[in-house]
Symmetry: C2
Subunit: 146 residues, 2 copies
DNA sequence: CTGTGTGCAAACTCTTTGCATAAGT
DNA sequence: ACTTATGCAAAGAGTTTGCACACAG
């Protein structure tokens, strides 16, 4: 089940390369590196600039423009999903239909787990639903004695 | 019930002035004019630049910066509601909790009427829901023979 | 009068783009 | 080799801000 490293492969590069190829994408250094960061630690919500910074910290060099290009490309082919919060584009490695909590105090983003939202939207005649974007903005509950 | 125009008031300025005052806002020329445009024709979804253009067309002069200031102010006090689509801030005169259709082909925005979405979100401990933002993006249904 | 709002232009943030260079198959 | 990506810096869109002047109460 667990695919063994083919030969001596010092860096734990998982099945990222075949993943990219499966989506018809050329496996470039930057794409491999960014994909590893994106998919290597479970589900993530990340903006382009944060991913770029993280990449630099991991000695994966990709310009901010390239990070944008790669993320947009990944979003197009369906490897990630994107939505906007606070004027910033957030890329989500969880591509299933789900909602998000946005914590206004910390800026954190979290999947709504139980989120049994009745995504029962009926598209008007001639249209189909391309995407449903749901963000629940949260603020810290203020002290009753104010 | 219908308050009569106080004196000779050629322009049909409805109860906009008291509306602003009720929200603690000074009734300036620009605010009155913009509010008239906003609330004079039923529910609207409008961006700052479009409202500015409309204002100019109606001989109500307000700079784009002022339109932004006024709309943001209106949103703060609860006269309008705002959300973001396609990187642009849309101001909605309907302040009730509701969802929106965004037509990707035309750019139009429409309230989801029946929208019986189960807005049953439970905020995490210590937080309360500040706002729920739901946009259903629609694309024209493509022809089966492609 | 006194404080608040407005206009203008410049600043700002996030994102995209053009073009020469570098890398992938 | 031949094509496609990348990097850089500049352009672009939308929104905000600083400051002098104008207006509302």
């Amino acid at each position: 089940m667990n695919p063994q490293p083919t030969s001596m492969m010092p860096i734990p590069t998982p099945q990222i390369r075949p993943l990219l190829e499966r989506y018809g994408l050329r496996a470039t250094r930057q794409r491999l590196g960014l994909a590893k960061l994106l998919f290597g630690k479970g589900d993530r919500h990340i903006t382009a600039d944060v991913l770029a910074a993280e990449a630099h910290g991991s000695r994966i060099f990709a310009s901010l423009a390239t990070v944008y290009n790669v993320l947009n490309l990944f979003a197009e082919v369906g490897l990630v999903r994107s939505f906007t919060v606070e004027g910033k584009t957030v890329f989500d490695t969880n591509t299933t239909e789900h909602c998000h909590f946005y914590f206004e105090d910390t800026g954190a983003i979290q999947d709504v787990l139980d989120g049994k939202f009745a995504g029962q939207f009926v598209a008007p005649e001639g249209y189909e639903i391309a995407k449903v974007n749901i963000v629940v903005r949260l603020q810290r509950k203020q002290d009753p004695r104010a």
